[in-house]
Amino acid sequence: MAFWFYRGLRKGIVTTRYPREVDPWTRDLPTPPAFRSSRLTRALADRLVAACPSEAIRREGEELVVDLGRCTGCGRCLAVGGEAVAASGEFLLATAERSSLVKRVPIGGDREARG
């Protein structure tokens, strides 16, 4: 608040500059997860599915299906997933197509362990 007030006094600007640029504090927002497909195993995927309280993550065969629309950004998958899961940092997710919020991530960890 003090920073905005100071910037406002200095430059005559009191508002966010969005949509021209995104505020730096948005780095701290809780965001949906992103995955390292080479570290994902089926066992880990099943633990992620069990950990997700809003059923945003499910497994379909060799793919992890993540519904960003259902994700609440609670971070439980980050706690379970270790190095395979990281925060995506994406929060500007508005879309006209519900289906474009459903993302598929291949589960590649098992394959690399075998080969």
Partner: protein, 179 residues
Amino acid sequence: MTVDGQARPEAADALAQELRRRALALFGRSLHIRTVDTGSCAVCESEIRLLSAPHYDLHRLGFFFTPAPRHADLLMVTGPAIRAADNLLLKAFHATPDPKAVIAVGACALGGVYGEDELVHGSVDQVVPVDVYVPGCPPSPLALLQGLLVAVGRLEERVASLSLDLDSDRRAAADGRPR
């Protein structure tokens, strides 16, 4: 929709899309918003209220809140669409003059938190047609602003090209795309 007795869904759909785009472009830089709460926990509302705070100042972008759906161009619907709110949601939807748009706000409204049962529909698009979905629990005011700008066609959506696979991102970067 049938044209000359033949079903031509693609052509009709493209035409409807174009009409819709032109109607929303009509709103240009002045659009009035009515919020409808279908059983939300009120955190989405608190983020929506932040939009009119000095920092976000959505009036500079030509958006205004209105207390009545009859004065509104756009409905912002929050909450999991509890069945007890069907009547108010449909009344607000039909009272909003055409052309109109509906934005579903938050994980509840998108089907995230409550499954469909005898108390809730589970997502807003089960009750009214939704034009723009804004995920988040709650969505940040900037995410709401993006949703509004996407709804009137002033900003391109970016989630369609987003990949959640960090390894494929790295591979794509290593494949020699311009850095």
